[in-house]
């Protein structure tokens, strides 16, 4: 896509800007859709209808909400550290959005095809912690501080199982480049890594998905913003557009981790049926379809499960997920040696 655009525009800066903006054209409509979708899913799980008034089945409800948030007064608490307070949502969103640089939407499009894509993803997703800490600290609210410190502990802890689960795939492919990982899963769907080295990579997906729920603060690991304990956690004091930005980054993060799960384990933009319905545009279709499946599972879990306590969260991370991901790494390693 880069070469194609270069051919048309003849201007590198313009091309790179355009390449950087493309994911935004997905993230914002996605967030608008996902908020509505989550409402509908939760409503139907709970024997109700959800939004029905604004548009057909409430389809433009989120747009109305965004408009409302935009029109709201921008409140910065008097006692807050106003510079940090104002900066924090941008850091959080910046971190979430930067992850999209390496998300391969299609064979023809990936923001930046760097050979350490996965490594970049793991590190950039930690930036959000800084933003959340800023938000919680600057709010000058004890509940926000709790939320911020909880999220710092949680995200830092759960990065380890995420990285270890990803490492199993890296062992198989021998590359950190996400497009090359996609290429390695071409052909029919049994070539996807979820079905390879069975059951090691399948369990790697389970571990990755569980840990990624904690990384994006989703139930059952949503303790940084646990409503019934911490009111709103780090975003208690935020209102209007700043709140919307924090909300947007949560949904952006949800899709980012789902996209990585798709790429690593479900063949990314590959068609499940070899050459049938494959190509750059079909690639986008398959990629988004698989990504949305993970989003659906995230929502499904959210509206089913209670929330774990903060010490139980640490227990699951350090004493369950991390040891098991080491076992998986060992298993995959032994398998690969045995085959050779």
């Amino acid at each position: 896509m880069k070469d194609f655009l270069l051919g048309i525009l003849q201007n590198e800066i313009l091309v790179y800007t355009l390449m950087a903006v493309v994911p935004l054209a997905w993230v914002i409509p996605f967030a608008l859709f996902a908020v509505w979708w989550e409402r509908k899913i939760s409503a139907h799980m709970q024997d109700r209808l959800g939004p029905m008034q604004a548009g057909w089945h409430g389809t433009i409800q989120t747009i109305a909400d965004i408009l409302k948030l935009m029109l709201k007064e921008d409140i910065v608490p008097t006692a807050a550290d106003s510079k940090l307070f104002k900066l924090a949502p941008y850091v959080v969103f910046g971190g979430a959005y930067a992850a999209y640089a390496v998300v391969p939407f299609s064979a023809a499009y990936v923001g930046s095809e760097i050979n350490v894509g996965l490594f970049y993803f793991i590190s950039i997703s930690s930036i959000a912690v800084v933003g959340l800490l800023m938000a919680g600290w600057a709010s000058n609210n004890k509940w926000s501080l709790y939320g911020a410190l909880r999220s710092a502990a949680q995200i830092v802890s759960y990065e380890i199982p995420v990285a270890l689960a990803i490492l199993t795939v890296v062992m198989v492919t021998g590359t950190l480049n996400l497009q090359e990982i996609n290429d390695a899963q071409g052909g029919m769907f049994w070539n996807w890594f979820i079905f390879q080295k069975f059951p090691f990579l399948f369990f790697a997906l389970v571990i990755y998905f569980t840990a990624s729920l904690a990384e994006v603060n989703r139930t059952p690991f949503d303790i940084p913003e646990a409503e019934s304990e911490l009111v709103g956690g780090y975003h208690t004091e935020y209102a209007g557009m700043r709140f919307a930005l924090l909300f947007l980054s949560e949904y952006a993060n949800m899709f980012a981790v789902s996209a990585i799960a798709t790429t690593m384990f479900l063949g990314g933009w590959n068609s499940p049926f070899g050459d049938f319905m494959s190509g750059p545009w079909w690639g986008v279709f398959w990629f988004l379809l698989k990504g949305m499946t993970f989003i659906f599972i995230q929502m499904w879990l959210r509206w089913t499960l209670p929330r774990v306590r903060v010490d139980q969260l640490m227990y699951v991370g350090w004493k369950v997920l991390i040891p098991f991901s080491f076992v998986l790494i060992l298993g995959v390693g032994v398998w690969m040696l045995a085959i050779q």
Partner: protein, 399 residues
Amino acid sequence: MDVTLQKEGAVADVDAGRRPATVPGLGRALRAEEMVINMGPQHPSTHGVLRLELIVDGEIVVDAIPHIGYLHRCFEKHAESMNNYQQVIPYVDRLDYVAAMSNEFGYVVAMEKLLKIQVPERVEYIRVIMAEFSRIVSHLIALGTYGIDMGAYTPFLYCMRDREHVLDIFEETCGARLLYNYMWVGGLSHDVKPNFQDKTRDFCKYFRPKIAELNELLSYNKIFKERTAGVGVLPPEVAINYGASGPVLRGSGVKWDLRKNDPYSIYNRFAFDIPVGMGIKGRVGDSWDRYMVRVHEMEQSVNIIEQAVEQLPAGDVQSAIPKRIRPEPGEVYVRTETPKGELGFYIVSDGTASPYRVKVRPPCFVNLSTVPAICRGSMIADVVAILGSIDIVLGEVDR
């Protein structure tokens, strides 16, 4: 105010002795102290305008001090100002507003004892059915909101859906859905509709599987058990010493239910069990036990309703209502088992048409007093679990 300040000082002193004075490698003293954090009066999990002053050491709660009174409405003064004993009933409704029928029941039983009125059989049966419906409604709200406290939103809406069926029956009977003014001294405001028995039977048939559904979704959920079992253990002797009653007392394994132990109205005619906490998942008296007692009580309430609706006699529900109420000078104390526990009415009459005194012994107020005793040393998330399992309604705590 002075008391609060002293308390804070005392906590700080304890802290100074307990903490290491220096940090290894840093060489100088690190100042560490407990934090005071207000949970409420505006907080999603205090179930109303309760303020819990938490003294916390990180995530650990060192002490929890409930501050009440934000919903004080001068119930006693209002009751004394009424020029008719019947006029107190709407105020009684507003004590425990999620189980208004039960409150009315307690008041009218007390008044009838004071006036020495014998109400018709039909009235007694309808009252028992309504009170047990009220118990189901109250427990559904308690269990559903407890789910929200634990982060599970869906069970709450399932509970509200089932509650709606009961409210429909209430609405058909007396026109109101929350605050009924239905039980009057000596009778009822309305007789039930002709299809009442069928509707009640239908509800019982519908509701039993729903309890099983709630159990599958929430009660036996692994995370839910982890969060509640063994958390906020209230030992039986502590519960008795604090005067706790209702599911809080029974959750601690004490088999005490006024419907059996000090029967009023016609409760001695029905066969039902008193569920108590067994410590199946954790220890006797933990939050899960208190939760589960409520689930089992709903089943027992359905049993009572089914028996009562089959025996419902014919009659006039208003025949015994006195035209004018002027009790002999004297006093009466009657206690009844509401969903929250032992609700006592102490009514003093000076022979006039206005009550001289109407004192309420509210179960929620007493149950809430156990919170500091069982919160110490738990985590902030556990405070939410404990408070939810106590099931307070601030209308009754503050009156």
